[in-house]
C-alpha cells in the first residue's frame, strides 16, 4: 500500500449501523477515516477539525436526514468532493444537489473494492490494481517531489531538517533505525538522510539493515555526522554511502547535496 508521507482524510457521515461500518472498513485501507453522525452541529465541528479531502455520506435512512448538512457542504466546502452511497430512492431526497460537480452517488449495495475505487476517482487519483489490492498512483499530493527519509534520534533535529527540506522534497521522518525501516515499508524513499550517532541502533547498523534488503539496497544514503575525527570518517566511508555531511549543516548544503545525488 503506497500512501506517501501523509494519509488522505475522509469524513464518513451517516447513521451508525452495519452499512457504515462496512464502508469504514473498505476505506480505511487507504485513508484515515473519521465516522460522524449526520447531525448538523456535530458535522460542523468535524469538518473544521478533520479538514477532510473527501466526504462520504451513507444514505441509509435518508428520508430522516436534515438537508442542512448537504447545504453547508455545498456552500462552504464547495471544493470538497462528496460521494454518497445510496439507492436510487434514497438519492431522490437530495436530487437538487447532484446538479453540480460536487456531489456524486454510488448505487448501493456496492462491494469494498467498488467503494474504494469510487473514492479514489472522486479524489482525482488514478489507480492501479495490483492483485487484490488497489493502489493509488500519480498522487499529485506527493506528485513530482522526491521522497526523502530523514533518520535522527534528536526530535529537534528531525523537525529542523524537515522544515528546511519540505519546500523541495517530500519529507518523512523516523526517530530510530527501526522506525526508519517501518517508514520505508510505507513509502519507499528516493534518498535517505541518516544520522550516524544514534543510540541503540546507530547509523552504521541501520545502513547495514537497509543494504540487506533487496528492495532498498540501491537507495542512496547520505550520512549526517557531527564527528570529524578520523576513525569515524573512515568507518563511515567504508560503508559506501552516497556522501556525508557534517552537522550542523546549512540548508543550502543539504539541499544541494540531495539534489546532486537524486538528479545525477
Amino acid at each position: 500500500m503506497n500512501t506517501g508521507g501523509k494519509m488522505r482524510k475522509v469524513l464518513l457521515l451517516g447513521k451508525l449501523n452495519e452499512v457504515i461500518k462496512d464502508i469504514d472498513q473498505a476505506l480505511s485501507t487507504m485513508f484515515h477515516v473519521q465516522i460522524c453522525e449526520l447531525r448538523s452541529e456535530v458535522v460542523d465541528g468535524m469538518l473544521k477539525v478533520v479538514e477532510p479531502e473527501l466526504v462520504v455520506i451513507s444514505l441509509v435512512g435518508a428520508d430522516t436526514f436534515d438537508a442542512t448538512v448537504f447545504r453547508k457542504l455545498q456552500l462552504y466546502y464547495s471544493e470538497t468532493p462528496v460521494l454518497t452511497i445510496g439507492t436510487e430512492e434514497e438519492q431522490r431526497n437530495f436530487y437538487d444537489f447532484y446538479r453540480g460537480h460536487q456531489f456524486m452517488n454510488l448505487t448501493r449495495p456496492a462491494d469494498n473494492r467498488t467503494i474504494l475505487m469510487a473514492a479514489l476517482r472522486r479524489l482525482g487519483l488514478e489507480m492501479k490494481e495490483q492483485g487484490d489490492d488497489v493502489i493509488a498512483i500519480n498522487d499529485p499530493q506527493n506528485g513530482f517531489l522526491k521522497n526523502v527519509l530523514v533518520v535522527d534520534d534528536d526530535p529537534v533535529t528531525l523537525r529542523t531538517l524537515k522544515e528546511m527540506l519540505s519546500d523541495f522534497f517530500n519529507v518523512t521522518v523516523a526517530i530510530s533505525g527501526i522506525q526508519a525501516l517501518t517508514a520505508m515499508g510505507r513509502c519507499c524513499p528516493d534518498l535517505i538522510l541518516l544520522d550516524y550517532e544514534m543510540p541503540v541502533c546507530d547509523g552504521k547498523q541501520t545502513l547495514e539493515m537497509i543494504r540487506a534488503d533487496v528492495e532498498y539496497k540501491d537507495i542512496p544514503v547520505i550520512f549526517l555526522t557531527g564527528i570529524s575525527d578520523r576513525e569515524h570518517i573512515e568507518a563511515v566511508i567504508n560503508l559506501k554511502p552516497a556522501g556525508y555531511i557534517l552537522k550542523p549543516a546549512s540548508k543550502e548544503k543539504l539541499v544541494g547535496a540531495i539534489k546532486k545525488e537524486l538528479f545525477k
Binding site: G5, K6, M7, K9, H32, Q34, C36, E37, E41, V42, G45, M46, V49, V50, S78, E79, G100, H101, D152, D153, D154, P155, V156, T157, L158, R159, T160, K162, E163, M164, T172, V173, A174, I175, Q179, A183, R186, E197, M198, P199, G226, I227, K247, P248, A249, S250, K251, E252
Partner: protein
C-alpha cells in the same frame, strides 16, 4: 275673419314646422331630442286645430280637436323634459314617469269625455259668421289638467332659473333666458284665454308658435345646438393629427381629413390602410410619410365606461425629431471640443510642468544658498505658492488625461497591508496636526496580496482622505477596508475579491441640494465654512473618473453638519488569499522591522570625528548618525585624533574622556592649542559615563564645547549636533532607508546570534518554527539529560550522544553559548572526564532552560484566545482529534500531529484531558510514539 284665422294658423304651423326641421337636422343630444318631441307635439296640436277650423260639421270639428289632443298632452311634458335636460337638473325619474303617466291618462280622459264627461262636462257648439265655435264647459279633470300645466311650467321655469344661476358660460346663459322667456310668454298667453278673443281662436296656438320662434332665435343666435360639439367635430376634422376610428369589430367607422391625406387609399380600402397602420405601430421609432415624421398611437375608445371601439392617432412629430437631431449634433460638437481640449492639455502636460518645476527647483537653491533673512522669507513664500500651483496643475492635467482617454489602469501585485498603512501614515499625521482622530480598520478576511492598479487606488484614497481632513474641523476621520460577498466561478482558476473601501468623517457634511455640485468638476460647494479651503476642487472628479476606469463607482452619503461617508466597491484579482488577519499586529511588526529611527534632520555635507578606544562605542555612534547622512570618521586614541585634526577638517569632534594613553582632555587641549589648523574652530564635545553632579561644569571649564553622557541617546546626540553644527549644513530630514539587513526584525536576545541562524536557515519563518520546537523540547530533553547523568557510568555514551545533538542543533540556531558548552561536555564525555562534566552539567542545564524565558516573548507575542473564551470541546470532536493524532504519530506525520495538538489547544478541554496536555505536547514535540500512545491510553481510561 275666418280666412285671417286660417292664415294665422297656417303661419303657426309653418313656424313650428321650420323649427322642427331645424332641430331634426341638427339633432345631436338629449336636449335636442326633447325639443324635437316638443316640436312634434306642437305640430300635431296645431295641425289638429287647423283641421278643426276647416271642418263644417260638429262631429268632424270634434274629431279634429281630439286629434289635436294627441299632441297637446305631450307639449307640456316635452317642455318639462326639455327644460330639465337643458338646465341639467336632477329630478328623480319617478316624477317624470308620473307626469308622463298623467299625460297619457289625460288623453284617455279627453277621448272618452263624451261618455265620462270628466274633461268637458258640456260640449256646445255655436255658429257665427260661418265659423263653428267650440264652447265646452270644463269638467273636473279639465281643471286638474290646467293646474297641472301651470305647475309644470312653473317648475320648468324654476329649474331654468336655478340652472341660470349656476351657469357661467355666456352663451348658455342667454339660452336659458330665452327659453325662460318663452315659458313666460306661454303663460301670459294662457291667461289671455279668458279674453273675448279666444271665443274665435285658441290663443294657445299662438302662444306655442311664439315660443317656437323664440326657441328658434335661441338656436340660431345663441347656438343652442351646441358649439362645443361642432367645435370638437371641426377640430378633429381639421387637425394636423390624423385620426382613424374603428368599432369593436375592427371596421373603420371614421377617419378625419388628415388621415385621408396621409393615406389616400383609406377611402377605397380602409382595411388595408388599417393593417398598414397596425404594422407601423409594431415598429419602434417614428414613421416617415412624405417629408414628415409621425408617431402612431393606439387607444381604446371608451364611452360611459364601455369600450366601443379603438382610435388610432397619427401624431405629426416632425418638429420634435428635427429638434432631437439638431440637439444630437450640437452635443457631438460640444464633446469633440471637450475632447480636443483634453488632448491638448494632456500633450501639453510636460510643457506646463517643466517650467513650474524649474521655478520650484531654482527656489530651492535660493533657500539653500542664501543667508539673508529677507530673501529666505521671500523664497519660502514662493515655495508655498509654487507647491500649491503645482498641485492644482497636476489635478487639472490628471483630469484631462483621464478625459482624453490617455489614462490606463496598470495593474500589478500589491500588498494590501502596505497600501493601507502607508496611506494611513500620511493621513494620520495631517489629521493629528489638525487635532483630529484618525482610525483605520481592515477586516481580517481581506486577502493579503491582490492584483490591481494600486497607484490609482492610492490616489483615490489619498484624495478622499485629504478631503475628509480638509473639511473636518473636529472629530475624526476613518478608513475602513472590508470584503463584500462575491461569487467566484467555481471552476475558474482566477479568483476575485470584492473589496469595499469607506472613508468616513465628522466634518461639515454636504447638503443634499449641493450633492450635484460635488460631482461637477471645478465647482466647490460655497458656504461660509468652505471659504478657507484650498485646492482646485478637482479631487472628487478625478477620483470618480479613476474609479470609473477601474469599473467602480463612488458613493456618497452625507448629513449636513454631521459628516460624510465616501465609499466604493472594487473587484480585484486575488494573488494570495491568505487572510490579512490581525492588521494592527502586522503593521506593528513591520514597523518594528523597519528602521524605526526617523532622523529630524540630515546633514550630508557634515563631517564628524569620533574618538573612542572602544570599537563598539564607535560603531554605535556611527550607526546612530547614519540616517542623517553625516560622514563619520573614527579614531581609537587621543594621539590619532590630534594627528588627523592637523590635516583634515571636521565640523564637530566627539571625544571620549577615559582613554588609555592620551586621555580626552589632553587631546582636546592639544587640538585647541593648535593655531591655524583646520580644526581650530571645531567644537569638541566630551563623551563620558561620568554623570556626577558638577562634572558638566568641570568639563566646560576644561575647555570642552559640550557634553554628552554615555550611553548615548540619539535624541541628545541630534540635539547637540543641531545646536553646534554650522547652520547651512543642517538640512531637511530625508527619510532614511536602511539597506536590506536580514537580521533586522529580530529582537535582541542574549545568547542568540541571529546572523548565524539566518545564515544556516535563511528563512525567518523557519527559524521561528525551529525555535518553537526547540523551546518545546527544553523540558523533556533536560529531564532526559538529568536522567542520563544520574545513570553514570553506564549511560555515558548516550549522554555524549545527546549532548552532541544539542551542540549541533543549538549551533544551527545561533545559540552560540549553549552550543559552546555542549561542545565541551561532549568532549568531556568522550574522554570520560567526569569531573568536567560535574562542573559544567548544572550550568549547562541552567543555560539551556533559560532559553525558554528568553524566547518566550519573541515566539508568542500574543497568546491565543483566553481560556474563558475557548469553547468546550464536543465529545465527537475530541475523539476525532485524538484519533487523528494517533494516526499521525503512527506515520510520523509531524505536521499532522502538531496540527492535532494545535486544534486541541483551541478548545476548553475536560479535566481528564487537560491534565495530560503538557505531557502530550512534550511527547509530540519529541516525536515519542510510545509516549503519545501511552498518554492517549491514559486519556481513554480517564474518560470512563
Amino acid at each position: 275673419m275666418y280666412q285671417a284665422i286660417i292664415n294665422i294658423q297656417w303661419v303657426n304651423i309653418l313656424i313650428i314646422l321650420i323649427e322642427a326641421w331645424v332641430v331634426f337636422v341638427g339633432m345631436k343630444n338629449k336636449v335636442h331630442y326633447y325639443l324635437y318631441l316638443l316640436c312634434m307635439a306642437m305640430l300635431i296640436n296645431s295641425t289638429g286645430y287647423l283641421l278643426a277650423l276647416y271642418s263644417h260639421t260638429e262631429d268632424t270639428y270634434f274629431q279634429a280637436i281630439m286629434f289635436s289632443w294627441v299632441g297637446k298632452v305631450w307639449i307640456t311634458f316635452a317642455m318639462f323634459c326639455f327644460s330639465k335636460e337643458l338646465s341639467k337638473s336632477h329630478i328623480p325619474w319617478i316624477v317624470t314617469f308620473l307626469f308622463g303617466a298623467f299625460s297619457v291618462a289625460t288623453f284617455v280622459v279627453v277621448i272618452t269625455t263624451k261618455t265620462t264627461n270628466l274633461f268637458y262636462t258640456d260640449i256646445r257648439f255655436a255658429e257665427e259668421n260661418g265659423m263653428i265655435l267650440f264652447q265646452p264647459q270644463k269638467g273636473p279633470w279639465g281643471w286638474v289638467w290646467d293646474i297641472a300645466v301651470m305647475l309644470t311650467v312653473t317648475v320648468s321655469f324654476v329649474m331654468l332659473l336655478i340652472g341660470l344661476s349656476g351657469e357661467k358660460n355666456r352663451q348658455k346663459r342667454k339660452q336659458f333666458i330665452i327659453v325662460m322667456l318663452a315659458l313666460v310668454v306661454e303663460l301670459m298667453i294662457g291667461v289671455l284665454v279668458t279674453s273675448p278673443l279666444s271665443k274665435y281662436y285658441d290663443i294657445n296656438q299662438f302662444g306655442f308658435s311664439i315660443a317656437a320662434v323664440m326657441i328658434l332665435v335661441a338656436i340660431f343666435r345663441y347656438n343652442l345646438m351646441d358649439t362645443e360639439y361642432v367645435a370638437k367635430e371641426y377640430m378633429i376634422d381639421e387637425l394636423s393629427t390624423g385620426v382613424i376610428v374603428t368599432d369593436v369589430y375592427g371596421d373603420v367607422t371614421y377617419y378625419n381629413n388628415t388621415a385621408e391625406n396621409l393615406f389616400p387609399d383609406i377611402k377605397s380600402d380602409a382595411q388595408k390602410v388599417l393593417y398598414k397602420v397596425k404594422d407601423m405601430l409594431r415598429g419602434d421609432g417614428p414613421v416617415s410619410i412624405g417629408t414628415r415624421s409621425f408617431t402612431f398611437e393606439e387607444r381604446p375608445l371608451i364611452h360611459k365606461e364601455k369600450t366601443v371601439g379603438t382610435i388610432y392617432v397619427l401624431l405629426d412629430n416632425t418638429q420634435y425629431y428635427n429638434y432631437l437631431n439638431e440637439l444630437e449634433e450640437q452635443k457631438q460638437i460640444a464633446e469633440e471640443a471637450n475632447k480636443a481640449k483634453s488632448i491638448f492639455l494632456a500633450n501639453m502636460s510636460h510643457e506646463i510642468r517643466t517650467p513650474i518645476n524649474s521655478v520650484l527647483g531654482m527656489n530651492e537653491m535660493i533657500l539653500r544658498e542664501t543667508n539673508e533673512k529677507n530673501v529666505r522669507e521671500y523664497a519660502m513664500d514662493i515655495q508655498a505658492a509654487g507647491q500649491s500651483l503645482l498641485s492644482i496643475i497636476n489635478d487639472i492635467l490628471d483630469l484631462s488625461k483621464i478625459e482624453s482617454g490617455k489614462m490606463e489602469v496598470t495593474p500589478a501585485v500589491y500588498d494590501i497591508v502596505n497600501l493601507v498603512s502607508e496611506i494611513s501614515n500620511m493621513t494620520e499625521t495631517s489629521a493629528n496636526n489638525k487635532g483630529l482622530l484618525y482610525n483605520v480598520y481592515v477586516s481580517p478576511g481581506v486577502p493579503s496580496k491582490l492584483f490591481g492598479d494600486d497607484v490609482m487606488i492610492r490616489q483615490v484614497l489619498t484624495n478622499l482622505l485629504t478631503n475628509a481632513v480638509k473639511y473636518t474641523s473636529r472629530g475624526s476621520v476613518s478608513l475602513m477596508v472590508s470584503v463584500r460577498p462575491y461569487n467566484n466561478e467555481p471552476l475558474s482558476m482566477v479568483k476575485y475579491s470584492m473589496l469595499h473601501f469607506e472613508v468616513e468623517d465628522t466634518g461639515i457634511g454636504i447638503k443634499s441640494a449641493d450633492m450635484r455640485k460635488l460631482f461637477s468638476a471645478y465647482e466647490r460647494i460655497e458656504s461660509g465654512q468652505n471659504r478657507n479651503v484650498e485646492g482646485s476642487g478637482l479631487g472628487i472628479t478625478i477620483s470618480m473618473k479613476m474609479l470609473d476606469l477601474m469599473d467602480s463607482r463612488l458613493e456618497v452619503s452625507s448629513e449636513y453638519g454631521k459628516g460624510s461617508v465616501f465609499s466604493f466597491d472594487l473587484r480585484q484579482k486575488i494573488v494570495d488569499d491568505t487572510p490579512v488577519g490581525d492588521y494592527e499586529g502586522k503593521v506593528q511588526r513591520r514597523v518594528g522591522q523597519k528602521h524605526s529611527y526617523e532622523p529630524t534632520f540630515s546633514a550630508p555635507d557634515a563631517h564628524i570625528l569620533v574618538v573612542d578606544d572602544n570599537s563598539t562605542n564607535r560603531k554605535v555612534f556611527s550607526s546612530l548618525l547614519r540616517p542623517t547622512g553625516i560622514k563619520v570618521t573614527e579614531v581609537s586614541n587621543g594621539q590619532d585624533a590630534v594627528d588627523i585634526t592637523s590635516k583634515h577638517y571636521f565640523d564637530i569632534i566627539f571625544m571620549d574622556h577615559m582613554m588609555p594613553g592620551m586621555d580626552g582632555v589632553e587631546a582636546m587641549k592639544r587640538i585647541k592649542r593648535r593655531e591655524n589648523g583646520p580644526c581650530s574652530n571645531t567644537p569638541i564635545i566630551v563623551l563620558t559615563a561620568n554623570a556626577v553632579a558638577g562634572s558638566k561644569e568641570k568639563y566646560m571649564e576644561d575647555g570642552f564645547d559640550g557634553f554628552l553622557a554615555k550611553p548615548i541617546s540619539s535624541d541628545r546626540l541630534e540635539e547637540i549636533i543641531r545646536d553646534v553644527l554650522r547652520k547651512d549644513k543642517l538640512k531637511e530630514a530625508v527619510p532614511y532607508k536602511e539597506p536590506e539587513d536580514e537580521t533586522e526584525g529580530f529582537p535582541m536576545i542574549t545568547g542568540i546570534d541571529w546572523e548565524v541562524a539566518m545564515m544556516r536557515i535563511h528563512d525567518e519563518k523557519i527559524v521561528r518554527t525551529v525555535l518553537e520546537d526547540f523551546v518545546n523540547t527544553i523540558k523533556p530533553q533536560t529531564r532526559k539529560l538529568e536522567r542520563l547523568k544520574a545513570g553514570f557510568p553506564d549511560t555515558i555514551e548516550d549522554y555524549r550522544t545527546m549532548v552532541h545533538g544539542v551542540k549541533s542543533g543549538s549551533g544551527t540556531m545561533g545559540m552560540i553559548p549553549l552550543s559552546g558548552m555542549a561542545f565541551v561536555l561532549e568532549k568531556a564525555a568522550k574522554e570520560k572526564d567526569y569531573e568536567t562534566i560535574d562542573r559544567l552539567h548544572d550550568p549547562f542545564i541552567k543555560e539551556w532552560r533559560s532559553y525558554e524565558d528568553r524566547l518566550k516573548d519573541y515566539l508568542r507575542p500574543s497568546d491565543g484566545a483566553d481560556e474563558e473564551e475557548k469553547e468546550e470541546i464536543p465529545d465527537e470532536i475530541l475523539e476525532a482529534i485524538l484519533r487523528m493524532l494517533s494516526a499521525s504519530m503512527d506515520l510520523m506525520d509531524i505536521d499532522g500531529a502538531d496540527d492535532a495538538i494545535e486544534k486541541l489547544s483551541g478548545f476548553r478541554l475536560p479535566d481528564y484531558v487537560e491534565k495530560e496536555m503538557d505531557d502530550l505536547k512534550d511527547a509530540v514535540a519529541e516525536l515519542d510514539q510510545d509516549g503519545v500512545a501511552r498518554i492517549l491510553e491514559t486519556i481513554r481510561k480517564g474518560r470512563r
